[in-house]
């Protein structure tokens, strides 16, 4: 279970996941070190999100095992998992705020589910502190519909850290944000890691963000790990697929397809097709 220098908090062994006949994760083994920031990169649809959803067992593997601190969790019942999930914070791609609840109620939600609240004053203080941490104190009574995309993600982040998790999972935290807002999120990720000493796992295809926050970068390709190392290792990786991805270039095959369908007639229906 030990890998390299750090202590392992999360690990997966021979993880395989299929959706129907589509193989999404193919025999992946991986260890996440405590207190480090691991970034998982890869093209859209390569199974990054599926991978981190397995880490908190929102999805169950077809085969393989998931361990949280040496305890196997992929075969636990949902009610047993609920206790373990309180050690996690999960930031969903769109934030996944409950739109019927206000910002403050969203942040109180996880606390309310696991503790009987005796002092509302303390809870208010806590909400204030968590919102201040993401720079949104004063927004307690707003509803998610009245917030911008970046603000929603920050509120969702405040909710994810409400229970003081040991592990925070981020699903594409910077997707859909402008470069400045993206950098705000990057700084937040770094700040939370520094101040709360949490283990961070980020799924992204934003290379600027990946280089900035990562201690370790893992690239997924076709359900397998194509590259695994620090930022320099990835930058200088010999594999062409890795180079193409980090430099944002279209592959030769894709390019050929794009050029080929340039002639209009092939893509259009002719009157005789309808006869």
């Amino acid at each position: 279970m030990q890998s390299r220098d750090g202590e392992a908090v999360l690990s997966v062994k021979n993880l395989t996941k299929r959706f129907g006949s589509k193989l999404v994760l193919d025999n992946i083994s991986l260890t996440i070190e405590k207190g480090k920031t691991t970034v998982v990169i890869g093209p859209s649809g390569c199974g990054k999100t599926v991978l981190i959803k397995h880490l908190i067992v929102l999805l169950r593997p077809n085969s393989g095992e998931v361990y949280f601190k040496d305890r196997r969790i992929d075969n636990l019942r949902e009610d047993e998992l609920n206790g373990i999930r309180t050690h996690y914070g999960f930031l969903f791609q769109g934030g996944a705020l409950f739109d019927s609840l206000s910002v403050a109620e969203n942040i109180i939600f996880p606390i309310r589910q696991h503790y009987t609240i005796s002092s509302w004053k303390e809870v208010e203080e806590l909400v204030k502190a968590k919102l201040a941490m993401v720079g949104l104190d004063g927004y307690q009574n707003y509803y998610p519909a009245n917030l911008s995309g970046g603000q929603r993600k920050r509120v969702a982040l405040a909710r994810a850290i409400a229970m003081n998790p040991e592990i925070i999972l981020y699903d594409e935290p910077t997707t859909g944000l402008d470069p400045i807002r993206s950098d705000v999120i990057n700084e937040l990720i770094l700040k939370l890691q520094r101040e709360l000493k949490v283990t961070t796992i980020v799924v992204t295809h934003d290379m600027t963000s990946a280089y900035k926050i990562a201690n370790r970068i893992i690239m997924l390709h076709n359900g397998k790990i194509a590259a695994d190392g620090d930022a320099d290792h990835i930058r200088n990786h010999p594999h062409p697929v890795v180079q193409q991805f980090i430099n944002g270039q279209v592959g030769d095959d894709d390019l050929a397809v794009l050029r080929m369908s340039g002639t209009i007639s092939q893509a259009q229906f002719l009157p005789r097709d309808f006869e």
Binding site: Y88, F90, T116
Partner: protein, 270 residues
């Protein structure tokens, strides 16, 4: 061809199994919620949305059922000189069959559609996953309050539908068809028993539970996108409607059996 058929059957059996597990989970969660006062606020909210706000539309449904029955049945009964028995016919039909079934269908449309759309959107925007990721059982938090609210309030809504059906039928009979009100009520009172009313109301528990469970299930298993949510709503309504009719038939047979065991002889015309 055979392979496709087999694959289709596999999918259907898997879905049936999933639905069965969901229903079981919903039942367990609902029973647990009903013993925990902490979850009552969630149930009150759903009762307001599901029950209280449905009252007007249910009353309108009931009233029109009674009124139409009066208009339609009058000619047949008048033809054989039994128009004063119109009350028995209207009121039996309303409290035993049409009131409960049409109220339930109305609820399937009004409440079931809204439940599926709400939970479906939550599913698509990962809010249900978010509930799970924070260590809460979404069936307990989202499904149980809705099932309890539907289960407990559908019988009351049926009583409203019955009441308005009786009133609507009577109003049309007296004002339009000129039936003597004393005779109308006395025949009705001797023809309609407490049993008939009770049968209709008890059906409400079954209708309410099936509407809530089916709609929540369809919401939870909704596919992505606007099309997915729309499809889930349609399927939820169609399935709820069919299950209401099927349950109605099954319950009619069962209640008739029970009735005949206890009261073997009953003449139709008092």
């Amino acid at each position: 061809m055979l392979a496709a058929l087999g694959a289709r059957a596999m999918v259907d059996v898997t879905n049936a199994g999933r639905f069965g597990r969901f229903v079981w989970g919903a039942i367990v969660a609902s029973i647990r919620s009903s013993t925990r006062p902490g979850t009552y606020p969630l149930v009150w909210t759903q009762m307001l949305i599901i029950g209280v706000r449905s009252v007007p539309v249910i009353m309108i449904t009931g009233a029109f059922v009674g009124m139409s029955l009066a208009v339609q049945a009058y000619d047949q009964l008048a033809g054989i000189g039994l128009e004063e028995h119109l009350g028995v016919l209207i009121n039996i039909s309303v409290v035993k069959e049409l009131g409960p079934v049409l109220a339930a269908v109305m609820l399937a449309g009004r409440v079931g559609g809204a439940l599926t759309a709400e939970l479906g959107t939550m599913n698509v925007t990962e809010q249900i996953d978010a509930v799970r990721s924070m260590g809460t059982d979404p069936v307990r938090y989202l499904v149980a309050p809705r099932v309890l609210a539907c289960l407990l309030l559908t019988p009351f809504l049926i009583i409203y539908a019955d009441l308005m059906g009786v009133v609507g039928g009577a109003v049309v009979s007296f004002s339009q068809l000129g039936i003597n009100s004393t005779a109308y009520w006395s025949f009705s009172a001797s023809g309609v028993e407490l049993w008939d009313v009770a049968v209709g109301v008890v059906k409400g528990f079954f209708f309410g539970a099936s509407i809530a469970v089916i709609s929540c299930y369809k919401g939870f298993t909704c596919r992505e996108g606007a099309h997915g949510v729309g499809l889930a709503c349609t399927e939820a309504f169609v399935l709820s409607f069919i299950s209401i009719l099927a349950l109605d038939f099954a319950l009619a047979v069962i209640f008739k059996g029970i009735y005949n065991t206890f009261w073997p002889f009953k003449s139709l015309i008092a």
